[in-house]
C-alpha cells in the first residue's frame, strides 16, 4: 500500500517532473494534476512545485492562485489535505492566504542559486516528521523573490506557535525576516518553503546530498499509517 501524491502543473511550472521523481524515489506514487482541472483525482496529498507560473508576472503566484485547481485545493487544504508549497508553490500558498506573509524580491536584487544550510525548526508537520527538531540540513535554493516578510504581530505569533518550520543558517540569502525559510499553518498540514527539497534527493545529482528526501518519506509514512 502506498500513497498517491499530486503535483500540479501550472503554465510556467518548472519542477513538476523533478517533484514527481522525488515522490517516486520516496516510494509514493506521483499523480500529475493540471491547473485547469478542478478535480484532484482523489490524491492523498498535493505538492505545488517550483517554477515561474505565469512568468511570475504581476506578482509571483498571483495569477496561478486563481486557477480552477486552486478552488478545490484551498477548500480541501482547509479540511486537512496535506499540501507542500516549494518556492513558487510557497508563493502561491501565500497569495491564496493558506499561509501567512508574502515574498518580496531578494534584498540584493539578484536571482540566487546556492546550496543553502537550513535548520528544521518544526519536525511535527505532515512533511517534516522524518527530521528531528533542530536538525541542520543543506537544500538548494534558487529564486528571485524569496524575501519572506510579514508584520511583526504575525511574526511573533508564528514564533510563539512554533510555525516557523525552517530557518536559514549561516547566511540569509534574500533578506527574509527572522531568517525564515519556511512556515506551516496552524494544523501542520500546509507547509511552504523557498528552498527545493526535490533537488536534494539523489547522491551525484545537484549538490550530491539527499537531505530533501525526508520531506517525501515523512508524508508517505503519515499517509500510509493513517
Amino acid at each position: 500500500m502506498t500513497a498517491r501524491i499530486g503535483v500540479v502543473t501550472f503554465p510556467g511550472s518548472l519542477d513538476d517532473r523533478d517533484t514527481q521523481r522525488a515522490i517516486r524515489l520516496a516510494g509514493a506514487e506521483p499523480v500529475a494534476l493540471w491547473h485547469k482541472d478542478k478535480d484532484l483525482h482523489q490524491v492523498d496529498a498535493v505538492v505545488l512545485c517550483g517554477g515561474f507560473s505565469y512568468g511570475d508576472y504581476l506578482r509571483a503566484g498571483a495569477i496561478a492562485r486563481f486557477s480552477p485547481v486552486m478552488e478545490t485545493l484551498i477548500e480541501q487544504a482547509k479540511a486537512g489535505l496535506p499540501v507542500l508549497g516549494i518556492c513558487n508553490g510557497f508563493q502561491i500558498l501565500t497569495e491564496a492566504h493558506l499561509l501567512p506573509g508574502t515574498m518580496l524580491r531578494n534584498d540584493h536584487l539578484h536571482f540566487i542559486c546556492r546550496d543553502q544550510k537550513l535548520r528544521v525548526e518544526n519536525a511535527e508537520t505532515s512533511w517534516t516528521t522524518d527530521y528531528t527538531a533542530g536538525q541542520e540540513i543543506h537544500i538548494p535554493l534558487k529564486n528571485n523573490d524569496g524575501q519572506y516578510v510579514a508584520d511583526e504581530y504575525t511574526l511573533d505569533q508564528l514564533e510563539a506557535e512554533g510555525r516557523v518550520a525552517f530557518r536559514y543558517l549561516d547566511f540569509n540569502p534574500n533578506g527574509s525576516q527572522r531568517d525564515i525559510a519556511g512556515v506551516t499553518n496552524e494544523a501542520g498540514n500546509v507547509v511552504g518553503l523557498m528552498p527545493h527539497p526535490e533537488h536534494a534527493v539523489e547522491p551525484l545529482i545537484g549538490t550530491g546530498r539527499t537531505d530533501g528526501l525526508p520531506f517525501f518519506t515523512s508524508i508517505l509514512k503519515k499517509l500510509v499509517n493513517a
Binding site: P11, G12, L14, D15, R17, D18, R21, A22, G50, G51, F52, Y54, G55, D56, Y57, H108, H110, F111, I112, C113, R114, P140, K142, N144, H196, E198, H199, V201, E202, L204, I205, G206, T207
Partner: protein, 752 residues
Amino acid sequence: MSRTPLDTVEHAAATPDVELPWAELGLKKDEYERVVEILGRRPTGAELAMYSVMWSEHCSYKSSKVHLRQFGEKAPQSDALLVGIGENAGVVDVGQGYAVTFKVESHNHPSYVEPYQGAATGVGGIVRDIIAMGARPVAVVDPLRFGAADHPDTKRVLPGVVAGIGGYGNCLGLPNIGGEVVFDACYQGNPLVNAGAIGVMRHEDIHLAKASGAGNKVILYGARTGGDGIGGASILASETFDDAKPSKRPAVQVGDPFQEKLLIECTLEAFKEKLVVGIQDLGAAGLSCATSELASNGSGGMRVTLDDVPLRDSTLSPEEILMSESQERMCAVVEPDKVDRFLEICDKWDVIATVIGEVTDGDRLEIFWHGGKIVDVDPRTVAHDGPVYERPYARPDWQDALQADDANKLPRPETSEELREQVLKLVASPNQASKSWITSQYDHFVQGNTVLAQPEDSGMIRVDESTGLGVAIATDGNGRYAKLDPYHGAQLALAEAYRNVATTGAKPLAVSDCLNFGSPEDPAVMWQFAEAVRGLADACQQLGTPVTGGNVSLYNQTGEVAIHPTPVVAVLGVIDDVARRTPVAFQEEGQLLYLLGDTREEFGGSAWSQVVHDHLGGLPPQVDLERERLLAEILISASRDGMIDSAHDLSDGGLIQAVVESALLGGKGARLIVPDGLDAFTFLLSESAGRAVVAVPRSEEVRFNDMCGARGLPVTRIGVVDGDTVDIQGEFTLTLEELRTAHEGTIPALLA
C-alpha cells in the same frame, strides 16, 4: 485613406521601371540585379524584403561560406553524426537510442544596445533551434566576453547580460551548466554574448525543417507578430502607404520566457503524438526565413496567406510581417487530419496557433495579401542561392612584429617572495578570479539531472535515470592566443574544450562553434577568419570530432579596430555512467597529485603576461593534437576504472591556477614540489597545452602509473593533497583563506 496599388507580382511585371530601395535594404547593385535576373522581372516590395534579409551576411553567410565549406570537406568519419551542418542544429548519437543536439550562437550586438533583453532573446533563439530538431532542451551554457573589468561600460553591460541570461533561462527551467566570462579591452563596445543549448531526444524523434506532402497545413504558433527587428523594411512600408505612416517600430526586442516555456511544452506534446511533419523556428528573418527554408528543403511548394498571421500591431505592412523578428514563434507543417489535434494542444497551453498556408504540388513559394499575390519565387533562390563572396584576405603586416615580441623574454620574478606576489595577483585578476557572483545568478539544479556545473571543467547532464548515461559540454576560446596565431589559436580553443570534456570523464564526440570576428571587408580580419577556420577544420579532422553546426558573427569592431579573433568552440561528450564523473575539487587528504603532459617555457598570450606585464606578443603554446587525444584517453580510462578522484585541466593561468581552484572547491590544500628540470616560475605559470593535474588515491598509484607508462604519457608526481595551505616547497606558502579572499573577492568588488 488613399493607397497606391498593392505591389503584387502582376503589378511588378507591369511596372518594370519602378525603383525599389534595394540599397537601403542592404543589397549591393549586383545582388539586386541578380534578383531581377532570377525572377525575370523586378521584385515586388515583399519579394525584395525577403531576398534582402535572406541574402544578408547574418542569414546567408556570404563572406564566410567559402571557408566554412572546409568543415564539411574535412569532416572526419564519425558514426555518431546523425544530422550534420545545415539544419537548425547538428544531432549526435550518444548511444542507448538517445540523440543529442547542441549549438552555440551569438547575440553580440543586441546585447550591447540593451544588455538584458539582448542576452535574454539570445537564449530564447538558441533554445528554439534545439526544439526545432525535436529535442527537449536540457541545459544552456553561456560563453561571454566583455571589455576591461574596471571600465564603466562593463558595469552597465555585464550585470544586464547576466540578469538577462538568468531571467530568461531560469524562467524556462533550463539549468545553466557552463560557459566562460573573459574580460579584455578589445571587447569594449563589442561584447560577445554567445549562447549555447543542448537538447535530448530519442533517435526516432529527430525532426527536420522541411515542408513535404501537398495539402499539408502550415501553422504559425506562439507570440503575435509585431514590428520587431525589421529595420529597413519600414522603408518599403512607407513607400506602400502614401498617407498613413506606420507606427514606430521597436528598436529593441523584448523576450517573453513564459511564452517560450509554453512553446516548448506544447511543441514537445505535439511531437509526442507524432503530429508534426516538419518544423522551423522563427529567428532572424522571421517568416521570410521559415517559409523559404521549409519550402526549399521539402519536396513541394508552399502557399501562405499573410492576412492570417496574428498581429500585435495592426499597422504592419506585408513586407514588415515577412521580415519581423518577433520572438517566441514557431512554424509547423501538419497533415490536414491532424490539424485539429495540433490546435487543441496549443489551446491547452494557451498558445495562439493559426493555419497560415499549405504545402502545394508545385515548386513555388507564393504569398498572398488582401487577395493579391505579392510573392512568387523559387524558395531555393531565397534560402540557398544567396551571393557568395571570395573576400580578399592578407596576413596583416603587423603580425610578424607581434609574434617577434616574445613574451618568454619578459622580466620574471626574481625571488620567491616576488613569485608569491605574482601568483596571488594572478588568481585575483578578473579573468582568473572566481565567477560565482555571476554563475550563482543562474539556476544549476532545475530538471534534477545536473551532475556537474561551472566552475567544473565541463557541465554534465544525466540523460537516462536508469542507466546513468550522461552528456558533457565545454566551451572555450582564447582570443589572445588567436590574435597571436589564428590557425593555432583556433586549434587551442578546440583542444581545451576537448580536454575539458575528457577531464570530467566523458568521451568527446562532436563540435559546434561560434566564430566571432571583426569586419570581413578588412583583409587582415578576413585572413584571421580564414586561418581560424582552416585550423579548426584541420584539428577536428585529426581529433575525429566533426563540426555539427555553428554560427559566424562578423563586424564586431569599432571604427577600424576589430576585436581579437575569437573562435569559441563547444565540444560535446558522452559518459556511460555519470557515477564515474571526475570533479575538479580535491576529495581527500593524502591523495597524490600528478601532472600529466609536458611543461615548456610558454608564456605568449598567457594570463601572466597580461596581468603582470599588460603584454600580448610572441607565439601561443604549441599544439600537439595526438598528445591531446592520448591525454583524453588516459583521463577517460582513469575515470572509468576509478583511478582518479579529481582532475583539472591546465589552461590560462597554468598549474597554480588549477591547483588553487581544486583546493578552494574542495576546502583542502596541497603541498607541491617543483619537479627536476623545471624552475618554479615555469612549473607554476607556463600555459603549455595538453596537460592536466589529477589526484590519485594511494591504492591506485601503481595501476595509474603503469597505465600512463604503457601508453607513453609523461606523468610527474608533483605533490599531495594536504592541510589548509597551498605550499610550494622551498618557495612560498599561501593559506586557503588568503587565496579565497583574493580569488572570490574580485568580481563582487568590481560589479556588485
